[in-house]
């Protein structure tokens, strides 16, 4: 038995060695580390499909800096430990660019891991491009030179949202309901703080936390919201916790305005439609499909031809890849040590509207116009709907870049 095991181990290690070609074989490899099985698989798959679509398009035009782009998927099951194993695997295959998004706990783990890795392995730098993890810690206390963030962090989204709510005179009583973990708490705490500064007259009539993905029946929570007399609810809930919450609200006939982070996430629009809450659910994102901007519309149309059931969930992946390609072409190299300086401070016309955003050099956070939109029935012949519901996101307000800027506490350690 032991012999067999030893043999197998030897065979595996030989295989491992042969699977370690250098990156410089004419392909540019991106490791996509996100959930591809288990509960988070639906969202992980969406990002992968979008990246594959981007790769096909750019390869048809001759690739990036003469190299063919290849997306290599790694399944991390939204688990920080598994993610590090997968990142190591990617590095062993010679990949120097890691793309990840789902789960700030995963994001922090990868950021820390690569900080150490890059210190110990100068000359073989690996960079982490983050498209969705939005815990402010990533670009503040723990910020790293090797991490770049494309989605607006929690505090930036809330800065923008409260700047919008500031002028909404009908908002008088706000109820907060969030998932009981670091992200939910950071949404609640920041909202309370910012509303107090900008609209001291608004009353916070409830600040509720419920366990993450464990609640089947939200009707008691809805009863509490109703009893509080709130006119507005702000929530960071995502996935099932969002869908069930909003359906319970629809069932009970609760009439409030919902300001959310993730109503547009996988399954969100379906739930909002089933709840029948047209024009009552709002989200804040870096873009939506129904913005009258030709270049984006054409790409979205092409994308939905390839993936008919999926709208574009992540406009930011287009920003991320677009800026990466630009940096690589400017540096004429796919070595992160050479192209990372080009990303710092880069100005870029965002995918959704063509308005300009910038990558702040001091903390590697991308600042971009943010959009508040609401889900309602659309003319599907002319406009995009979500998840085949016949309902699509319509813009309510654009928050210009200047109203999204927040301070950072990042003291970045630069290489060399």
């Amino acid at each position: 038995m032991m012999n067999k095991l030893a043999l197998a181990a030897a065979a595996l290690s030989i295989l491992g060695l042969s699977a370690m070609p250098a990156a410089a074989d004419g392909t540019l490899k991106l490791a996509y580390v996100d959930p591809l099985s288990g509960g988070g698989a639906s969202i992980g798959q969406l990002g992968l499909n979008q990246l594959k679509f981007i790769a096909e398009k750019v390869n048809a035009k001759g690739g990036v800096n003469g190299e063919k782009l290849e997306i290599v998927p790694f399944d991390n099951q939204v688990n920080p430990q598994k993610s590090l194993v997968q990142v190591q695997k990617a590095i062993d295959q010679g990949i120097q660019i890691i793309v990840q998004g789902n789960g700030s706990s995963v994001g922090v783990a990868i950021e820390d891991f690569l900080r150490k890795y890059n210190e110990r392995n100068p000359g073989k730098s690996v960079v982490y491009l983050n498209y969705a993890a939005i815990d402010p810690i990533l670009t503040n206390e723990k910020c790293s030179y090797w991490h770049f963030a494309w989605d607006a962090a929690v505090n930036i989204k809330l800065e923008a949202l409260t700047n919008y709510l500031k002028n909404q005179k009908d908002v008088k009583k706000v109820y907060l309901i969030d998932q009981d973990y670091s992200f939910g708490h950071s949404v609640a705490d920041t909202t309370v703080k910012m509303l107090k500064e900008k609209r001291p007259d608004i009353k916070i009539v409830g600040n509720e936390f419920h366990p993450l993905v464990k609640v089947t029946d939200f009707s008691p929570y809805i009863a509490k919201i109703k009893a509080s007399g709130a006119d507005t609810v702000i929530t960071g809930n995502w996935g099932q916790d969002f869908a069930l919450l909003i359906k319970a609200a629809g069932d009970a006939g609760l009439k409030v305005k919902w300001y959310t982070f993730y109503a547009g996430g996988a399954g969100g629009p379906t739930a909002v439609k089933q709840a029948g809450l047209a024009g009552q659910v709002f989200q804040i994102t870096e873009g939506i499909n129904n913005i009258d901007y030709k270049p984006a519309q054409e790409v979205i149309r092409a994308y939905m031809k390839a993936y008919p059931k999926e709208p574009v969930y992540y406009p930011r992946l287009f920003n991320l890849t677009g800026m990466l390609f630009k940096a690589i072409e400017e540096a004429k190299s796919d070595d992160p040590a050479k192209f990372a300086p080009k990303l710092e401070g880069m100005k870029y016309k965002t995918f959704s509207s063509g308005d300009e955003g910038f990558m702040r050099a001091s903390d590697h956070q991308f600042f971009q116009p943010l959009y508040i939109s609401t889900l309602e029935p659309v003319d599907t012949k002319k406009e995009f709907d979500e998840e085949n519901t016949g309902w699509g996101w319509k813009q309510v307000a654009q928050i210009p870049v200047k109203d999204t800027i927040t301070q950072t506490t990042c003291k970045m350690k630069r290489p060399g």
Partner: protein, 316 residues
């Protein structure tokens, strides 16, 4: 105050009945076959997706009948060609078999329907609000859930306790050889029971699908709460499961409604705030915040103080 109590009671009963609906198939299979069916949630999910597929072609009502029959047939096949062979190797093998089956069903569903949630709608004939109390609407579909749940409970009780089939089934569990010598086909009885149990899981799926989220991970998210129902009620006791469902529903709902914390209760006894330092977060956490954990606390307490559950007859 009265408003909160009334609404909470109503919500608690509705949620409890949904729990019973989802747990009934699990109880049936356990009480009559002695098999703890880990794949129960998988069959529940199959029911939801079959119901969705049928409802968008010919309507919800045919789906409510056809989907459970189909899933029941699949369940019978599983028993006939899988479980029966595994049974010889004892309970651990059975557990592992049904555990593995969950993954097979999940992958199958993902291959056919993808990973995104599907738009499984409440049928138009039930899509209105049945009544309104304190300006809160109660949709007709929830009442329908409640009625089906009670109907299933009564029907099962009658069949198990009062009918000849029920007697034979119960006898077959304790004395299979004796029953076989009396001329009953014991294997077929077990196959039927497994079919009925999985069919019940499918009914729960067809009904819970539109009410919750029909998605390929719904089996996983249903999670251990059903085992809590079955264990608290007493392994294998239908009446116990019914009462446990109601109890858990009410417990959780009332806990959510309460904003009390240890600090509120005992804060007056401790003006210096030393307790807050000792207990840390536990001191200030509200009951509402831990409400969904309550059933599991109940589970632990029951296992310590009354291991056979509320109405169980044996300690397993």
């Amino acid at each position: 105050m009265f408003e909160i109590v009334f609404i909470s009671t109503l919500n608690g009963i509705l949620y409890g009945m949904l729990l019973f609906l989802m747990a009934s198939g699990l109880t049936v299979i356990f009480s009559m076959m002695g098999v703890l069916n880990f794949a129960h949630a998988g069959f529940y999910m199959l029911g939801a997706f079959f119901g969705f597929e049928i409802s968008r072609r010919i309507g919800f009502w045919p789906g409510l009948v056809i989907a459970p029959v189909l899933v029941g047939l699949i369940g019978m096949m599983v028993e006939r060609y899988g479980l029966r062979r595994v049974h010889r190797h004892g309970h651990v093998a059975e557990l592992l078999f049904t555990f593995g089956l969950t993954y097979v069903i999940q992958q199958g569903v993902e291959m056919v329907w993808g990973k995104l949630p599907v738009d499984y709608k409440v049928p138009p004939s039930l899509d209105f609000s049945a009544f309104t109390v304190f300006s809160t609407n109660y949709p007709a579909f929830k009442l329908f859930e409640l009625l089906i749940s009670i109907a299933i409970f009564l029907a099962l009780l009658l069949v198990v306790k009062r009918s000849r089939i029920g007697l034979v089934v119960q006898a077959a569990l304790d004395h299979p050889e004796m029953v076989a010598r009396l001329g009953h086909d014991v294997d077929r009885i077990f196959m039927l029971v497994f079919g009925v149990g999985t069919g019940l899981a499918a009914i729960a799926g067809v009904i819970a699908g539109p009410a919750l989220v029909t998605q390929s991970n719904m089996a996983g998210l249903l999670g251990p709460i059903l085992f809590v129902v079955v264990v608290v009620g007493g392994l294998g006791s239908l009446g116990g499961a019914f009462i446990a469902s109601l109890l858990i529903g009410l417990l959780q709902t009332f806990a959510v409604a309460s904003n009390m914390s240890l600090a509120d209760l005992f804060g007056g006894l401790d003006p210096g705030g030393t307790a807050a330092v000792y207990f840390g977060d536990i001191w200030s956490v509200t009951v509402a915040q831990v409400a969904p954990i309550m059933p599991y606390l109940l589970l632990v307490l029951i296992l310590i103080f009354r291991p056979r559950g509320l109405m169980g007859t044996r300690e397993t």
